[in-house]
């Protein structure tokens, strides 16, 4: 297949994805979905920390507050990817019955998911940027709690953003691989994965604070290194490694693609690609 044709297929599915993610809703709801909802999810844990410290009469550490804010803001692309990836098979196969049609096109499912992921990247970009700006302004000027974002290292920032996107793409292929074989996990699978990542992904605390035996997870999970590099990019004194930041999610993406292709083949063999009314 030539590249031009492949790109046309990806852009067609990106357009479908954009319609599903945004254009099916009214502008106010779209703003709610892409700005207010992620902002609320961004503020939840930093404020928990602030209120917790106020309750016990302790002092809020600006560095740790910044650690949590950066973690929750840049976790948004993973949330967006996991939520859409968790639903995409159920929507296309069960609800709209189009999965079989997409499957028999020349491009089939892999570029289709890439296009849908591109739409998620667009919406996540809006959500992440708006959450970062509003959260920063809210903590600095409404709550009078300074965030220690002293500088920006653009090399680290761009490297980490690429790693976030690669890690999100890995999730985007992994969850449908599971959902092709079941119709019962489309609600819960994404939240299992996100719940696990909240615990182990260095989002609101270092995974090593669970137990030091869990420290190795920081090098295995495709989220930790990227978030820590983002923190370093904004001037927090956190160690980061460019090589690990890129290779860990890249390894996960390669693994996800292999699993996805095997999963599609297996689903075809078991006649699951057009199975509807599976209750």
């Amino acid at each position: 297949m030539d590249v031009k044709k492949y790109l046309r297929m990806v852009s067609a599915s990106a357009w479908v994805g954009w319609q599903v993610e945004s254009n099916w809703t009214e502008p106010l709801i779209f703003i709610g979905l892409q700005v207010i909802r992620p902002l609320a999810s961004t503020l939840l844990f930093p404020l928990l920390y602030v209120v917790g410290m106020s309750f016990v009469g302790g002092k809020t550490d600006p560095s740790y507050l910044t650690y949590i804010v950066i973690g929750t803001v840049f976790f948004i692309p993973y949330i967006s990817a996991a939520e859409t990836a968790g639903q995409v098979i159920s929507q296309d196969r069960e609800r709209y019955g189009v999965l079989k049609s997409i499957y028999i096109t020349e491009a089939s499912l892999t570029p289709y998911l890439l296009g849908r992921f591109a739409a998620v990247v667009c919406t996540a970009l809006i959500s992440t940027t708006s959450s970062l700006i509003i959260a920063y302004a809210t903590f600095m000027y409404v709550f009078n709690l300074p965030l220690t974002m002293t500088s920006i290292n653009f090399f680290q920032l761009s490297t980490a953003v690429i790693a976030v996107l690669i890690g999100s793409a890995a999730l985007f292929y992994l969850l449908p691989s599971v959902n092709l074989h079941t119709n019962k996990l489309h609600w819960s699978l994404a939240y299992y994965v996100l719940g696990f990542l909240y615990l182990t992904g260095d989002i609101i605390f270092p995974v090593s604070s669970l137990t030091h035996y869990a420290t190795f997870l920081t090098y295995i999970i495709p989220v930790n290194q990227a978030l820590n590099m983002l923190r370093a990019a904004f001037g927090l004194p956190i160690e980061s490694n460019v090589y690990l930041t890129l290779t860990t999610p890249a390894g996960w993406l390669a693994f996800s693609m292999v699993v996805f292709n095997l999963s599609v083949k297996q689903a075809r063999r078991k006649a699951l690609l057009d199975r509807i009314g599976w209750w």
Partner: protein, 268 residues
């Protein structure tokens, strides 16, 4: 009256029965909030406020009810429309409120089991200190919170009656902001609230806010009935307002739907 009570029982039965058709999902559904509760409790511990980690547990328990209200109360009539059951509900010779009431009772039973599992798992694993001094206050507060909350669910269900697929997006919009405002993991009303008075006032219009705060005070801080009078008053007022509003709204939306022929429209 008898027919309506039978409709309530029938709708409750369907909901409870469907839950126990696959009981393993009870545990599975309980584990999702447990992971986020563990994360919130760990954040309390890591930051040095471990003694209030139980706040996150109470929030996790009530999160199950809020999710249930959004996805299995508010959007239920939309699901019924999609699956073709709404037409049957409309032509059935019963009050539509009895169907909503049955849905609520079934949901409360199912979600209470799930909530109890979340509470037990989280308190056991996190070794949360329980300081329950007044079980009667806890029971009354819990019942009143659920009555007000499911009153809101019935109201939302009526409002969603004519919506199309954007209800799913609307539910998504309402999930995290309500987690934040209602104080799922930390108090959002009172002296420790990070929010200004106007936001605290708006937050208190959500039944969960005073409900969670009261439950936290009884279960974790060991407060009794006497110190929770304002909580009871606010929840009672919300109940008294929300349920009649749900009734009126349902009648209005049903009539509007009949006039516009939108009650059985799908995929819009």
């Amino acid at each position: 009256m008898k027919t309506n009570l039978r409709a309530v029982y029938a709708r409750t039965y369907v909901r409870v029965k469907s839950q126990f058709r696959e009981p393993e999902w009870l545990i599975s559904d309980a584990l999702i909030p447990v992971m986020v509760v563990f994360a919130a409790a760990t954040l309390y511990r890591v930051s040095g406020s471990q003694q209030i980690a139980g706040f996150a547990v109470v929030g996790g328990v009530m999160m199950a009810f809020w999710d249930n209200v959004l996805w299995l109360m508010a959007s239920q009539l939309y699901w019924e429309k999609e699956s073709g059951n709404l037409d049957l509900f409309i032509i059935a010779p019963v009050s539509k409120m009895s169907i909503l009431l049955g849905m609520s009772l079934g949901s409360i039973i199912n979600t209470s089991i799930r909530a109890a599992l979340i509470f037990l798992i989280a308190t056991f694993v996190l070794k949360v200190e329980i300081n329950l001094a007044d079980p009667l206050a806890l029971l009354l507060l819990f019942v009143l919170t659920l009555t007000a909350l499911y009153g809101l669910g019935m109201l939302m269900s009526s409002l969603y009656l004519l919506y199309g697929r954007s209800v799913l997006n609307l539910n998504d919009v309402l999930t995290e902001p309500v987690y934040l405002l209602s104080g799922l993991y930390f108090p959002t009303i009172g002296k420790h609230s990070p929010f200004p008075a106007i936001i605290q006032f708006l937050a208190s219009l959500i039944p969960l806010t005073f409900g969670i705060d009261g439950l936290r005070r009884t279960i974790i801080l060991g407060e009794s009935l006497g110190s929770l009078v304002s909580h009871f008053a606010v929840l009672a007022v919300l109940t008294a307002v929300l349920i009649p509003m749900a009734w009126k709204t349902l009648q209005y939306m049903e009539n509007l739907g009949r006039r516009q022929g939108r009650l059985s429209l799908r995929w819009m």
